[in-house]
Symmetry: C2
Subunit: 267 residues, 2 copies
DNA sequence: CGGCAGATTGAGACTGCTCAACATGGGTGG
DNA sequence: CCACCCATGTTGAGCAGTCTCAATCTGCCG
């Protein structure tokens, strides 16, 4: 039913004269903080730009890899591993400006799969050409290290986020994180459309689709979000933050620990 | 009780003429696969070697960082974050050959803390000197990228390991992972001493100390490990693997799904 | 010989899962 | 343009695993 409905791999259109200078993701991508001439140099390093439709794979697990790294120019991706039993384990969701394939540097096959959750465009780099260029351009070398380090930090945060706390904390964190991702990427930070299904969110958070559904209901009932299908509006970020950190009440104020205060129960 | 009993930070003995060539961790560290002359070059990059006693911190969260990376020469470390509420969140356990501080490249403060779980010795690098050297020595550049990538992959695996599955699966995985870590590092792979408390294992796996204790009991009862305090002997690695993957029985063979087969219940 | 942190063990509560039925809505073909 | 279909999402009831909160035990250290 689910799993790899779309065509096998890679592909599509070598595309237009798009370049880094005009890229909407520029601020989040490799050229962060570089001047235009360096930016142009990076532009030169892009082997080609690939467009994918929703559901198409950028690469798949155990596929032999040909030295490629990908920067997401637009759209969103999901990366996942397959267990020996064939279950899908979501390792992350990725937005414009992020790199894919960094975890496979030095290996000969891909460690996981990457699939487009929306129509998307990526810039394809050759790792070796990039490394060569970095050898000659110090700032690029630095930038690349920063990129790897940042990715490492992100992955660490994910681990922390997901390991600890109850379902509501995890999911509140997830929403806040998504919101932060959308900030500065065009869309408003408190109004966005999730590109993934409840099932996928559940896989990612270590919960089930049913639980995600119920949590959305609860949050709606508490008035901190509005939600219709995959469209989310964050109404009360402070409350979400409180839920995320496990602090149930804003200002306990005077009186006891509010044993049964008027917290609306359901939708 | 727990939490930062020891002295504040860093420190100690500039130490002996130890070098990479004779380092027991050489095979797992930066010089992987390099010839002796390159190895000597890396040796030159080590600013100093620092010895720490059990419980001492290598660095602490939010401490301003001075461009340092550390390679573990001997001993074991725990890295953790503190939540705003002061709770400790273990991000990982680290053995000889691994690098610490990679996640802070490009930042100005440490993202987390690193504390020695045993007496330990680390090699201190200056990131900038390392990067400079990599600029001149191509193989080193490559090696450094591989190091970062490998660390990223490790962190991903951790995420996968910990998010999915039940308590027994997580813990079985944890033991197997520890066992793998000890392989090729002197100690026998199936007989080792855990450097961390039940509480710390629990923090890491997203479980409680009580649960860890019970799991050890169960595993002992099933005959796949022996355990006295922190000393572990793995008796039946295959069974542990089965538990880890969620396959309850080795060969269901003929007959039903063995509703109440003779699986000894307790220790 | 205390004192104490770490480890073990027990009883009960509660969260989140399982399994299932049902609702919804977008896409397709007639 | 409508009817249908299927994937996705919602909701319910019951259950199991893990947590909580303790009491108790052990070995280590001073």
């Amino acid at each position: 039913m689910n799993r790899l409905p779309a065509s096998s791999s890679l592909a599509r259109h070598n595309a237009q004269p798009a370049n880094c200078g005009t890229c909407p993701a520029r601020a989040h991508c490799l050229p962060t903080g570089m001047n235009d001439s360096y930016c142009a140099a990076i532009d030169q390093l892009v082997e080609r730009r690939v467009q994918l439709v929703r559901g198409e794979h950028l690469y798949q697990m155990n596929e032999p890899l040909s030295d490629h790294l990908y920067a997401i120019r637009s759209g969103q991706f999901k990366t996942y591993h397959l267990t020996p039993e064939g279950e899908q384990r979501v390792t992350g969701f990725h937005m414009s400006g992020e790199f894919l394939g960094l975890d496979a540097i030095g290996l000969h096959v891909h460690r996981g799969s990457a699939v487009a959750l929306t129509n998307a465009e990526v810039c394809e780099f050759s790792y070796h050409r990039l490394a060569d260029a970095a050898q000659r351009m110090e700032p690029l070398s630095q930038l690349f290290h920063n990129l790897l380090s940042k990715e490492l930090a992100r992955q660490q945060d994910t681990t922390l986020l997901l390991r600890n706390g109850h379902a509501d904390q995890k999911f509140a964190n997830f929403l806040l994180r998504m919101s932060r991702c959308y900030t500065g990427r065009g869309s408003a930070p408190n109004l966005f459309q999730l590109p993934m299904s409840r099932q996928e969110i559940g896989d990612f958070l270590g919960l089930t689709a049913a639980t995600i559904s119920r949590l959305i209901c609860n949050f709606k009932g508490q008035g901190c979000i509005k939600a219709v299908r995959r469209n989310i509006i964050i109404l009360d970020q402070a409350m979400l933050t409180r839920i995320a950190t496990g602090t149930p009440h804003p200002a306990p104020a005077l009186g006891a620990i509010a044993p049964a205060s008027p917290v609306l129960q359901l939708a």
